[in-house]
């Protein structure tokens, strides 16, 4: 069955690649390529193309279900083993995935591989997402389109690009490209010559900077002075970020208990809630009156606040993707073989809707599916579902999407 689906997909992909020009990645001749087939994202790698024409012809003729290219630049990209390729440098990629960020939507479906129970996340009623409420085993969460989640993801991407990459690291917008991953997230490609030659250690540090991992707030304060001095909202980088975020939270919380829930020591929380206006004014001038220089409690409170507040702290960008200089990543504007969606390069992030703008497959042929369970969702400009244990005939694009989610099975008949 998989071979038949692969054939249908390959036909559809070929039609797409013959009518659309996929731009090759910059420095094409220095990149390694890898291609995949149904169910396997990489079946062959160490490939190279010497010209745009060769690359285009390959897509038109072979129509691979997955095509990826190296973030690294190599002297001989097709050489093996990796050491023989002659690494010249590498782009830096930041990857956001909705599931890794824990952005679950009420419309998502959970399925327990152990007991077979399934349902909507919205019906979990207090149970943790990812745990089966029937048997307690880990449950798989299947994500369905949700505009609210898309907005949150885009917000994360936007903060990373504007606040960190452009403002802190001084990378020009021309050196940054944002792509939809073709599945559940976004890839940010940084092709700056400034970062190209950085080794793995340096990349790890950049990722740590962005995620704020292991940050120790003590370094930002001078507790030898009374009252202690610390960051101001106008300070650059993390200093300013911490001051701004803490001012925001102090102004926003309704009472001390809310701060306590964020990990702040009760005594400190009460003091902050009582003298809120005065404290905010002092922090604006770099004076932090509530830090107890004698004990660690206040720093513990601050660390807790920083963890709660930072836009990336406690959330995951995929560290491996960012530090791995030998990684292969989906070619922008190629089709993702699992979902049938384009790994689309985005020019206007705000207006981008992946389930409308990245749909690459046509409606025909219609596939006859048995759908186990799917909520109502928007896809390709139309509303589909809800489905439960039902045989339906659906257009190719939405059929592939449901098959990729593992909630449907093909019934071996097609209507052209």
């Amino acid at each position: 069955m998989s071979e038949q689906i692969a054939r249908i997909l390959r036909d559809a992909f070929r039609r797409y690649y013959r009518s659309h020009d996929v731009p090759p990645p910059p420095a094409l001749e220095q990149r390694e390529f890898g291609v995949g087939d149904y169910g396997r994202k990489i079946v062959r790698r160490h490939m190279a193309f010497v010209s745009r024409r060769e690359f285009r012809n390959y897509l038109r003729e072979e129509a691979p279900l997955y095509i990826s290219y190296s973030v690294g630049y190599f002297e001989r990209p097709d050489a093996t083993p990796m050491e023989a390729k002659g690494l010249l440098g590498a782009d830096m990629i930041f990857e956001f995935d909705a599931d890794e960020l824990g952005l679950f939507s009420p419309n998502d479906v959970w399925v327990c591989p152990h007991c077979g129970a399934k349902g909507l996340v919205s019906e979990l009623r207090g149970f943790k997402v990812g745990i089966c409420p029937k048997c307690g085993d880990p449950a798989k969460v299947i994500m369905f389109p949700d505009p609210e989640r898309e907005e949150k993801l885009k917000e994360e991407v936007d903060t990373l690009v504007k606040d960190f990459l452009m403002n802190d690291f001084g990378i020009s917008s021309k050196e940054i490209s944002i792509n939809f991953s073709g599945n559940r997230g976004y890839h940010i490609h940084v092709r700056s010559p400034a970062l190209r030659e950085l080794d793995k250690e340096a990349r790890i540090e950049i990722v740590e900077y962005v995620t704020g991992q292991n940050i120790d707030v003590r370094y930002f304060f001078d507790v030898s002075r009374v009252p202690p001095r610390g960051p101001k909202p106008t300070d650059p980088a993390w200093k300013g970020r911490i001051a701004r975020n803490i001012i925001e939270i102090i102004s926003r919380v309704s009472d001390a208990s809310e701060l306590v829930r964020m990990g702040v020591h009760p005594g400190v929380a009460r003091r902050i809630a009582r003298d809120r206006g005065q404290i905010v004014e002092m922090i604006e001038n770099g004076v932090w009156p509530f830090i107890d220089t004698k004990g660690d409690d206040a720093f513990a409170s601050l660390s807790a606040l920083v963890k709660t507040l930072s836009p990336f702290m406690g959330k995951e960008i995929d560290t491996n993707t960012s530090v791995d200089i030998h990684r292969l990543i989906r070619v922008p504007d190629s089709i993702h073989g699992s979902t049938g969606l384009l790994a689309k390069s985005i020019t206007n992030l705000k207006a981008f809707d992946p389930y409308r703008d990245a749909v690459a497959l046509p409606e025909r042929p219609y596939l006859s599916l048995h759908v186990d369970y799917a909520p109502e969702f928007e896809f390709a400009g139309e509303t589909w579902g809800p489905f439960q244990d039902i045989n339906v005939e659906l257009p190719l694009h939405v059929s592939i999407f449901l098959l990729s989610k593992g909630v449907a099975h093909w019934r071996l008949t097609t209507r052209g």
Partner: protein
């Protein structure tokens, strides 16, 4: 004096330093100094330029001959400490870096051994890293660390064979703080000769008896097990599985575990020591 800076190599050439043909006295003094570094005595006095340059080249050879990341790290830390302590102005001038405004990629080139120089503790804005005096000093240490160990280990063919002996001679012998002979373990002998210990038999075997019999007295695990079983038969309390006793003896042998010192046991298990003292087994 920063013998690891790129300009130092040129100075070494100008001074006609040939590190591959040295007399024994020079090698011996370099080896002694290297030994001090391996002992983490980083506050060694600065010598004349020629000797500093020569020693730097030799230290890299010695570290490579020893071939361990640990020694490279110590060497790097030695030069880092010195760069951090002395006025870093000359240092930054030679590298062509303005420490108050360093381009981000330049900053990222060097690994960070001081946690204070982590990217999020410094001011980064529009691709420029700004450092205050204190952090500039630390950053100088970072650079010194990176530059001094860059390219290690050296190609073995570039290290004269005789120098390897001097490198090995520099490695400090680690002396175990615990005595190697039975001397100092007389209290364990008195435990072994005691009968009627009601409690803590397993802990006594674990802390003292099994390691003592196997690794101090040099009995085989089988012999140790029979001694332990005989000892257990003279104590009170319930039955201890023979397999547990055997495992303890085997573990002590396999890992070379030495008996715990009395003070250590007293701090972690004061009740046991108090009980043995109460019985008059320990003084």
């Amino acid at each position: 004096m920063y013998p690891f800076l790129p300009s130092a190599a040129r100075r070494a050439e100008r001074l006609g330093i040939d590190p591959t043909a040295l007399d024994d006295a020079t090698l011996s003094s370099a080896s002694d100094r290297f030994r001090q570094i391996l002992l983490k005595h980083f506050d060694l006095p600065v010598l004349d330029e020629r000797t500093e340059l020569l020693h730097f080249i030799l230290f890299r050879m010695f570290a490579s001959a020893l071939g361990s990341d640990y020694y490279y790290e110590l060497l790097g830390k030695f030069y880092a400490e010195r760069a951090r302590r002395y006025d870093p102005v000359e240092f930054f001038v030679e590298l062509g870096i303005d420490p108050s405004a360093i381009p981000l990629p330049e900053y990222m080139k060097y690994s960070h051994i001081y946690p204070e120089t982590k990217l999020y503790y410094v001011d980064v804005e529009r691709g420029i890293v700004h450092l205050d005096d204190e952090r500039a000093r630390l950053f100088a240490g970072d650079i010194a660390y990176t530059l001094s160990i860059r390219g290690l280990p050296l190609d073995p063919s570039k290290i004269p064979k005789a120098y390897v002996d001097y490198a090995r001679r520099a490695v400090p012998v680690r002396r175990s703080s615990s005595p190697k002979t039975a001397k100092g373990y007389s209290f364990i002998e008195s435990i072994l000769s005691t009968s009627g210990i009601p409690d803590g038999r397993k802990r006594i075997i674990f802390y003292w008896l099994a390691p003592y019999l196997v690794n101090i007295k040099g009995l085989t695990p089988e012999e140790a097990v029979s001694v332990l079983n005989e000892w257990l038969s003279r104590q009170g309390g319930g039955k201890i599985p023979p397999s547990w006793v055997k495992d303890e003896a085997l573990l002590a042998k396999r890992k070379g575990i030495r008996p715990w010192g009395l003070k250590k046991v007293e701090s972690t298990d004061p009740g046991l020591v108090k009980m043995l003292r109460g019985m008059g087994v320990l003084e």
